[in-house]
């Protein structure tokens, strides 16, 4: 990977430093299966390491308790004894009881200690290399789409692009009049809520190019299930090229953003071809090609339709108008 442009540089990816290298520990495959998805970012890796550490104790306790249970059931079943014959009249054993009060404390202490050791690698965004800026993206959760704003003003909907290897910090929020959503791409780390009036932060540093998907994780209304998100990780060069291209398109009032807006914002409720869904049919409506009417309904809502595009720039309205003029929804 090579650096390109002055905006971002690609540091070599370094795995998070944990005192045990999990990849080298032979895990039974069922145990590896019972874990979060394969991590593609150091924070997701720290979480998965913590998970596997906890798993050691969880499986040991599971085997111990279920094993004792089965053993006792087999060993102390009645067999030929009379139905109501007394078992051993043991009322307790203080030392034993102290032991099984104290040993979980030790286990939990170890788990808590491990979590705190892993924590910095999960929560702290790595320092960017000297003289370089991190990439900051503003993520806004809205009913029912994700809007991303890049430092140069480029806007994207639902599909984020990011360069491989670069620490990307995310400012996650929701408009005041919206509801709570939760940003989550499992391979790129844990989730963080997008709360109206609050700005939360999270980050990722994708190891490999590829597309990683996730979806809103906080019930946000009727189309919560369709509020998908994905992050397409490109090489740094490709990413820079993409960002410049989108900037130019946006200035020209056309291009991909219009389609993203239609698919991400309009079509989830009105249907992919405007044929109607949980919201009415809009194919053929004159509003779609009337700049002022479109801007008004998108920015202010109408009836039960929320103001899905409150705060949208004129550019955003323009590209949607352009897309709808070029590609009028067929309605079927």
């Amino acid at each position: 990977m090579t650096s390109a442009g002055s905006r971002t540089r690609v540091p070599r990816y370094e795995p998070s430093g944990t005192f045990i290298e999990w990849q080298s520990v032979p895990f039974p495959s069922f145990l590896a299966q019972f874990a979060p998805v394969a991590p593609e970012s150091p924070n997701a890796e720290g979480i998965r390491d913590s998970w596997l550490f906890v798993s050691i104790f969880v499986f040991a306790i599971f085997v111990l308790v279920e094993g004792l249970l089965v053993a006792f059931i087999v060993k102390y079943r009645r067999q030929n004894r009379p139905r109501f014959e007394d078992g051993a009249q043991a009322h307790g054993a203080t030392k034993l009881e102290l032991a099984w009060t104290a040993s979980p404390v030790v286990v939990l202490f170890l788990i808590a200690a491990f979590v705190f050791i892993e924590l910095p690698g999960v929560k702290d965004i790595p320092e960017a290399a000297a003289g370089e800026e991190q990439l900051e993206i503003k993520v806004t959760g809205r009913q029912y789409y994700w809007q991303y704003e890049y430092p140069n003003g480029v806007i994207a909907i639902d599909q984020m692009r990011a360069p491989a290897g670069v620490p990307v910090s995310l400012e996650v929020t929701a408009p005041d009049a919206d509801v709570i959503h939760s940003w989550w791409i499992p391979a790129l780390g844990g989730k963080i809520d997008a709360i109206p009036g609050v700005t939360n932060e999270t980050w990722f540093q994708a190891k490999n190019e590829g597309t990683y998907s996730g979806q809103c994780a906080e019930l946000c209304g009727l189309e919560h299930a369709r509020m998908l998100a994905s992050v397409e990780v490109l090489s740094s060069d490709e990413f820079d090229a993409w960002l410049d291209e989108r900037r130019a398109e946006q200035d020209a009032g056309s291009g991909e953003l219009g389609q993203e807006e239609w698919e991400g914002v309009c079509a989830k409720c009105h249907g992919p071809s405007g044929e109607g869904g949980i919201a009415p049919r809009i194919a053929g409506s004159p509003t779609l090609t009337d700049r002022d009417a479109l801007a008004s309904i998108v920015r202010s809502g109408r009836g039960t339709m929320p103001a899905v595009g409150s705060g949208w720039t004129d550019e955003q309205i323009a590209v949607l108008l352009d897309y709808l003029t070029e590609n009028p929804p067929s309605g079927s």
């Binding site: 308790v65 102390y76 078992g87 043991a90 009060t101 499992p186 844990g190």
Partner: protein
């Protein structure tokens, strides 16, 4: 002691009217249990419809609106109309009998609690027919979504929960007063049955946290806007659009919400602590440790609420505190599990249906407890929060734990309630179907959640989740068959169930001292209580007396 009522008017003795006007704790207890079982079936059916919708990717059996209503009312019903009241039913029936008294301290308040529960529950069910359908914002009803929710379903949900809160708090006062003041001679705190202990802590927890829920719901109602006389009131405590904080609601809700889990689980623990010793023919192992752990769980349950809020962006120091507090609560829970295991040790185990359910409880609850450790570790929770992993986790505690304990209790105390034993053969079939169906339904959900499936989605596009979901759906219908078997069992037992004596299990606690079913006033006399096992002591004394006579 309660003054006996004067002779009631004749119409109140009618078969139907007698139940309507009853203030007898036993009848109220049975009413509570029966009503809760009706709600259990209704909420179960809602789950089966949801499972049908989720069996395949991109299915279109019910729409998003209906699904969200079902997900909300299923959860609300199972928690507020099944979990809490069915255990209140057991407590109503059992507490006065177990402590050797004739009724609850406030019999009419007791009836009031029951009827508030019925009205609150009925209102929730009928809210499906309200303008805009039932509430559809989840059982947690987070604002701003619940403030913006159109129609009157959300308002009816709030009103229904208000009624249930009044019902539950009135019931809790009654239990606390009864248990504190009306124990029979000789029954000191350390000779009290463990189920009664669990109800005492249940009562105190309700007193501590339910008012907080009521306050949060009242504010939510005001935020939604209400008309009080000529004034339209609309506040914005939780509404960020007008400067409120939606996270504040989450704090209030979970300050109630997490102890609520223990309000349900502690009495279930109590049932297990009663059943295991009887079928192991042993005293409970470590009585005092179990009491202490019940008290500790009750206390710490009020200090862990924000582990439901690890993803809202709380300061790390706060998250660390709530992780440690949540881990602390695992210790007394572990103590209980080990004490139950030790109760089996060197016992004389019989595997009647109540025992099968108790052992099933032990094996499943452990899984629910262990998956809780992952959720308590906050960075891990960032990954699995609000996914099907959490759904699996709490169903292992609430079905594997509570529902299994409830069936253990029903099969164990049925002969005391009605004088007839539930059919054992059907009961064992039901157990195995429920046990297998449950694991098939909920074990795969752990994996679906780990692979990224969030909860509360009405459909999904990712076909790799289909296998887990199909298994889940199949398992849930097997559980449905198990519940049908129970209904058949109840019908058969009503007509032709085996009549058994007053004490078919040779149990140790006072409820088995009286007749089955017990008379209105419960006991003609109550033996002086000399230990936590008064009937065991009594049987031993009788054996000694007989032994003395034999040589002569």
């Amino acid at each position: 002691m309660v003054a006996r009522a004067e002779t009631p008017p004749a119409w109140q003795n009618g078969k139907f009217a007698g139940w309507l006007v009853t203030t007898d704790h036993k009848r109220i207890g049975i009413l509570y249990i029966a009503t809760s079982l009706v709600f259990f079936v209704l909420a179960g059916l809602m789950a089966l419809v949801m499972r049908l919708q989720l069996a395949q990717a991109n299915a279109d059996i019910i729409g998003a609106d209906r699904y969200n209503e079902l997900v909300t009312i299923h959860g609300t019903t199972m928690i507020f109309l099944v979990g809490v009241p069915i255990l209140a039913g057991f407590a109503n029936f059992l507490v006065p009998l177990m402590i050797g008294t004739s009724d609850m301290a406030f019999p009419r308040l007791n009836a009031l609690s029951y009827w508030f529960f019925v009205f609150g529950g009925t209102m929730l069910m009928l809210s499906f027919f309200a303008d805009g359908g039932a509430a559809d914002t989840g059982w947690t009803a987070y604002p701003p979504l619940s403030i913006q929710a159109p129609g009157s379903g959300q308002d009816l949900w709030i009103l229904s929960l208000h009624l249930l809160t009044v019902s539950t708090v009135a019931g809790a006062v009654n239990f606390i007063v009864t248990i504190t003041n009306m124990r029979t001679r000789g029954m000191s705190w350390t000779r009290m049955p463990l189920f009664v202990w669990s109800i005492l802590i249940y009562g105190w927890l309700i007193m501590a946290v339910m008012p907080v829920l009521a306050a949060a719901l009242t504010i939510l109602l005001l935020d939604r806007g209400v008309s009080i006389g000529p004034w339209d009131v609309q506040t914005s405590f939780f509404n960020p659009a007008d400067g409120g904080s939606s996270v504040l609601y989450q704090h209030a809700f979970w300050f109630f919400g997490h102890p609520e889990v223990y309000i349900i689980v502690l009495p279930a623990f109590g049932i297990i602590s009663e059943v295991l010793p009887v079928f192991a023919r042993k005293p409970i192992f470590g009585y005092k440790a179990i009491v202490a752990s019940t008290v500790a769980i009750g206390f710490f349950s009020m200090l862990v609420w924000a582990h439901h809020m690890f993803t809202v962006g709380l300061p790390i120091s706060l998250q660390a505190f709530f992780m440690i507090a949540s881990m602390v609560i695992a210790v007394p829970t572990g103590v209980k599990v080990f004490n139950w295991l030790a109760t089996l040790w060197r016992g004389n185990l019989s595997f009647d249906t109540p025992m099968l359910y108790s052992l099933g409880f032990l094996s499943l609850f452990v899984i629910g407890g262990l998956t809780g450790i992952y959720l308590a570790a906050f960075p891990i929770d960032w990954q699995v929060h609000d996914t099907y992993f959490v759904v699996a986790h709490f169903h292992y505690t609430l079905i594997g734990g509570v529902v299994f304990a409830i069936f253990a209790g029903l099969f164990y105390w049925w002969p005391k309630m009605f004088g007839r034993m539930l059919n054992e053969k059907l009961g064992k079939w039901q157990f195995w179907l429920l046990f297998i169906g449950f694991n098939v339904a909920f074990m795969p959900q752990h994996f679906a959640g780990l692979e990224g499936m969030p909860r509360r989605i009405y459909t999904y596009a990712d076909e790799s989740w289909e296998g887990y979901n199909l298994a889940s759906t199949i398992g849930s219908y097997v559980m449905g068959i198990a519940i049908i078997l129970f209904a058949v069992n109840v019908m058969r037992t009503r007509r032709s169930g085996e009549r058994v004596g007053n004490d078919p299990w040779q149990a140790d606690t006072l409820e088995w001292y009286t007749t089955s079913p017990p008379p209105l006033h419960n006991f003609d006399d109550v033996p002086y209580v000399t230990s936590a096992r008064p009937l065991y002591d009594l049987r031993r004394r009788l054996r000694v007396e007989r032994g003395e006579r034999e040589p002569a």
